[in-house]
Amino acid sequence: MRCPDRKQLSAYVDKELTFSEMQVIDEHLKDCLSCRIEVERLKRMLNGFRALAKEGLSIPAPFQISHSDNHFKWAITVAVFVLVLVSAIIIGYSHENTVAKNLNHNDLEFYYKNHSNYIQKPSQSYFSLVSWE
């Protein structure tokens, strides 16, 4: 009987053949020394793999990844964004106030006079709202 190909023998060792294929190879092995040696060598190697499979890798502390953590990350991102936005608005507002406080009425009049071609002077009521120091 012709020897089965090596792929078949590899699958035979894994018991991944059909019942009839297994039977054919079982019968063949009874009479074929070289195939028996091949099967033994394969089995020895698989024993080595089993030893590798059993060894424990040093797995770090359980991964703290969960759906809720995902939400938590989003919440932090949104909170930081809002904080930055609010800070920017506050800084911008205080800067405007500082500039306004440093100008007096005459400066404004001078400014609007020199830029009257493209800036319209606000109504008097606007000036009355600004508290001059």
Partner: protein, 198 residues
């Protein structure tokens, strides 16, 4: 897959899709360790934690697309393997050789076997064999390594390996055969080269 397992999987998937945090914790408990081990074996330990995190994120993101035509375990392995393969392709590395030092290989064996202070020759020999075997696996091309690791180390069946990698059963059989051939050549070549010359 047995009916009971399918029902358990179905119930877990429904909870996950509904955003049940207990279900996420249970998925985490069940698979984090297995995923870490698989990533270490496929892509090396250096970025294993990051890769497991990436795989978990992909699992959560694609939960809605899980159709239940395989077990959750197979699906988790599939995503983890894809993440590893993408990582290795990105890095353009065909083997573990550059990914971790041999010191790590040694230390893993030391952790498993009895004290190195009392080291009979048989134990030293086993440790040496395991190191060589590990190195031989590490030198395989990614596709062959994935099949060998999933079948011979993670103990998946041919059909499960085919499902995880999205390849035909015949391809699993043939890749496994060639992978084993190579490992054996490297392993036995190493043993021969260590034999004392007369």
């Amino acid at each position: 897959m047995a009916l009971e397992e399918r029902l358990a999987d179905y119930s877990l998937v429904q909870k996950l899709k509904a955003g049940d945090s207990d279900a996420y914790d249970s998925l985490n408990r069940e698979y984090a360790g297995k995923m870490f081990r698989l990533v270490c074996r496929l892509a090396g330990p250096e970025e294993a934690e990051d890769l497991v995190q990436e795989a978990f994120m992909q699992i959560y993101r694609s939960m809605d697309s899980f159709r239940g035509d395989c077990s959750i375990g197979t699906w988790v392995y599939k995503i983890t393997t894809n993440v590893c393969q993408d990582y290795l392709r990105r890095k353009n590395r065909r083997s573990w050789r550059n990914l971790f030092s041999l010191d790590w290989l040694k230390s893993e064996t030391d952790r498993e076997l009895p004290s190195p202070l009392l080291e009979p020759p048989e134990i030293a020999e086993i440790k040496d064999d395991l190191d060589r075997l590990r190195l031989a696996i590490a030198t395989l091309p990614v596709e062959q390594r994935a099949v060998l690791v999933l079948h011979d180390l993670e103990q998946l069946t041919y059909q499960e390996v085919a499902d995880v990698l999205g390849i035909a059963l015949g391809t699993v059989k043939s890749r496994l055969f060639y992978a084993r051939q190579k490992v054996r050549l490297i392993f036995e070549g190493g043993a021969k080269s260590e034999m004392p010359r007369s």
